[in-house]
C-alpha cells in the first residue's frame, strides 16, 4: 500500500511536470553586484537578470531564477539542479573541460586590485580573492600569498579589517565599492583575464546552447546588449 501511494505520488509529480511548459532554470550566485545580486525585495537583480530575461524572451523560453553558492555552482549544474550558470563566469579552458559555454555576452574585462593604501604590496603580500575564480587562479600563480573566501563580499571585508593587503576581483565589482568608500582605492595595473563572460551549460545540452547563442547574437546585432552594459556598468565599460 505504501509503495502504491509513493509511486502514485511520483507519477502525479512527473505527469504534472510533462504537462507544464518547459522551464529553464537559471542558476546564479546573487552576491556579485552589479552582475547579479539579491535586491531589496529579495529578488535576483542586476545586469545578468536583465540580460537573462531578455535572452529568454527572445528564445521563447520560460525562465526561473535560482541562487546557488559560487563554490558549488558547477557541480550543481552538472547534476541537474539548474540548467544554466549565469553568474559572471568567465570562459576559460579549465571550465570548458567540465561544462559548455555559449558565446560571451560580456566582453573580456579587466580585473583590478583594491587596497587601503596606494603602496600595498601586490607582488609579495597577502591578496584576497573569491574561491574558484580566474582571479584566485591568477594570484596563486603569482608570487603573492592567496587567501580565498566563499563570497566576494568577504574578500572586501578582509581588506577592510587588514587581513589581506588587497583584494583582486573583476573591475566592475570593485570599482563601485572603491568609488563609494573613501578608505578603499584601486591600486596597481589592470589585468586582462579570461575570454569574456558566457552562460555555462551542461555538456551535450546543444539545443539550449544554440537557442542562447542565437539570442545573444541578435542582442549584439541590434545593440541592445551594449545598451544594457552601459546601463549597468557605466559609460566607460567595454562594449562589443
Amino acid at each position: 500500500m505504501k509503495k502504491l501511494v509513493l509511486s502514485a505520488a511520483i507519477l502525479a509529480l512527473s505527469a504534472g511536470a510533462t504537462l507544464a511548459q518547459d522551464v529553464v532554470r537559471m542558476g546564479t550566485e546573487g552576491a556579485y553586484p552589479p552582475y547579479n545580486f539579491i535586491n531589496d525585495n529579495g529578488e535576483v537583480d542586476g545586469f545578468e537578470r536583465a540580460v537573462g530575461d531578455e535572452l529568454c524572451a527572445r528564445a521563447n523560453l520560460t525562465c526561473v531564477w535560482v541562487t546557488n553558492e559560487w563554490d558549488s555552482i558547477i557541480p550543481n549544474l552538472t547534476s541537474g539542479n539548474y540548467d544554466t550558470i549565469i553568474a559572471g563566469m568567465s570562459i576559460t579552458d579549465e571550465r570548458e573541460e567540465v561544462i559548455d559555454f555559449t558565446q560571451n555576452y560580456y566582453p573580456p574585462a579587466s580585473s583590478l586590485f583594491m587596497a587601503l593604501s596606494a603602496d600595498a604590496d601586490l607582488a609579495g603580500g597577502v591578496i584576497a580573492a573569491q574561491t574558484n575564480t580566474i582571479q584566485s587562479g591568477y594570484i596563486a600563480e603569482s608570487g603573492a600569498t592567496l587567501v580565498e573566501f566563499a563570497t566576494p563580499d568577504e574578500t572586501v571585508a578582509a581588506v577592510r579589517n587588514g587581513e589581506a593587503d588587497a583584494t583582486f576581483a573583476d573591475g566592475d565589482f570593485v570599482l563601485p565599492i572603491a568609488n563609494e568608500d573613501p578608505d578603499l582605492m584601486i591600486v596597481g595595473e589592470p589585468v586582462q583575464l579570461g575570454g569574456g563572460i558566457g552562460l555555462g551549460l551542461r555538456e551535450g545540452d546543444d539545443e539550449l546552447r544554440e537557442a542562447f547563442n542565437t539570442a545573444i547574437q541578435s542582442m549584439k546585432d541590434d545593440g541592445s546588449l551594449n545598451a544594457l552594459i552601459i546601463e549597468w556598468f557605466g559609460p566607460d565599460a567595454a562594449t562589443f
Partner: protein
C-alpha cells in the same frame, strides 16, 4: 511597506530604518525563522520516534533486531554531525534518483558515475528539472529534516535505552508476578516510568538540536544564517539601502534569538521535569511527596 519609502536616500534615520527593516529581503529573513521552527517542529517528534524505535530494538530478545538498534545508535553517534549531514544528504538524494532510474530507464547504457558527476536519466531527476522552485526547496528541506531526524534519533535512542534500564527492576518483576506479558510490561510499566529518567538526556538533545539548526545553511537551505550574512554584507548604491558591513549586528541578533529560545526551552523543560517527577521513586519525586504531606 510604508508610503514614505519610495525614495529611501532622502529619509531621516528613523524612517530609513523603518523602511529598511520592512523591505522584501527582510521579510524573507523573517520568514526564514519559520523555516527553523518548522525544522524543529518536524524533526523533534521524528527523532524521538526514531530513538524510541532504536531503544526498543536494542532491548529486543531477537538478536538481529538488537544488532540493528545498537548498530544504528553506535554508528550515527560515532560520526561527526557535519560529516554525516553533508554525506547523508547526498547519499539520500542519489539513492532516490538511482532507484527511480533503475525503474524508469532500464535501457540506459551510459555509466551513472562519470568522474565527480552523478548522471541519471532526466526522468529520474528528483525533483523533476522543470518542477516549480518551491518543489525544489521543499524537497531539499525534507532531505535535511530526514537527516536531522536520523542523527538526533540516534542520540535519543541512547538516552531512552539508558532510561529504560534505569526503571527499577522490582517494578518489572512485580508486573511479571501479576501475570503481565513482556509486551504489557513494556507498555504499561516500563514506558510510563522511563520518561523522568530520559528527560535530562532528552532536554540535552533538544538544546543541541536547536543549536544545530544553523547547519541548514551548510545544506544550501536559505535559513537565518544565510540571510544574516546576505543582508549584513556591505552594500553599494546598486541597492536601495546602501550600508557598510553590518554582519556584526545581524549575527548579534541571531545570538540573542538563540539565547532567548534556549532560555524559554529551559523554563519549559524544568516545568515538565516537575510534572513528571510526581509519584516517582527519585529524589525529586520524594521531595514532592514530602511537600504534599
Amino acid at each position: 511597506m510604508f508610503s514614505f519609502c519610495t525614495d529611501p536616500s532622502t529619509l531621516a534615520t528613523g524612517q530609513w530604518f523603518a523602511c529598511y527593516l520592512t523591505n522584501g529581503a527582510h521579510f524573507l529573513f523573517y520568514q526564514s525563522f519559520l523555516v527553523v521552527f518548522a525544522l524543529l517542529a518536524v524533526t523533534a517528534p521524528t527523532a524521538l520516534a526514531f530513538g524510541f524505535g532504536a531503544a526498543a530494538a536494542s532491548r529486543s530478545p531477537v538478536l538481529p533486531i538488537r544488532w540493528l538498534g545498537k548498530g544504528y545508535i553506535a554508528m550515527v553517534r560515532g560520526v561527526p554531525d557535519i560529516a554525516f549531514f553533508l554525506f547523508f544528504v547526498i547519499v539520500l538524494d542519489q539513492l532516490i534518483e538511482y532507484s527511480i532510474h533503475t525503474v524508469r530507464c532500464p535501457d540506459w547504457s551510459e555509466p551513472i558515475y562519470q568522474g565527480a558527476n552523478f548522471m541519471v536519466c532526466d526522468a529520474a531527476r528528483m525533483p523533476p528539472g522543470n518542477a516549480p522552485q518551491w518543489v525544489h526547496e521543499t524537497y531539499n528541506f525534507f532531505l535535511a529534516v530526514f537527516t536531522y531526524a536520523i542523527v538526533f534519533g540516534a542520540f535519543c535512542g541512547n538516552v531512552l535505552f539508558g532510561a529504560m534500564r534505569a526503571v527499577p527492576l522490582a517494578q518489572l518483576e512485580t508486573a511479571a508476578a501479576y501475570g503481565m506479558s513482556r509486551r504489557q510490561t513494556f507498555w504499561r510499566v516500563l514506558v510510563p516510568q522511563m520518561w523522568i529518567y530520559a528527560l535530562p538526556g532528552l532536554s540535552n538533545v533538544w538544546m543541541i538540536l536547536i543549536k544545530a539548526t544553523p547547519l541548514l545553511f551548510l545544506l544550501g537551505i536559505e535559513d537565518i544564517v544565510y540571510w544574516a550574512r546576505e543582508l549584513g554584507g556591505s552594500r553599494t548604491s546598486a541597492y536601495q539601502y546602501p550600508h557598510s558591513d553590518w554582519r556584526f549586528w545581524y549575527f548579534l541578533g541571531l545570538l540573542v534569538f538563540y539565547l532567548s529560545f534556549t532560555r524559554v526551552s529551559e523554563v519549559v523543560l524544568a516545568r515538565l521535569t516537575h510534572r513528571l517527577s510526581r509519584g516517582q521513586a527519585t529524589a525529586a519525586g520524594d521531595d514532592l511527596r514530602r511537600a504534599a504531606t
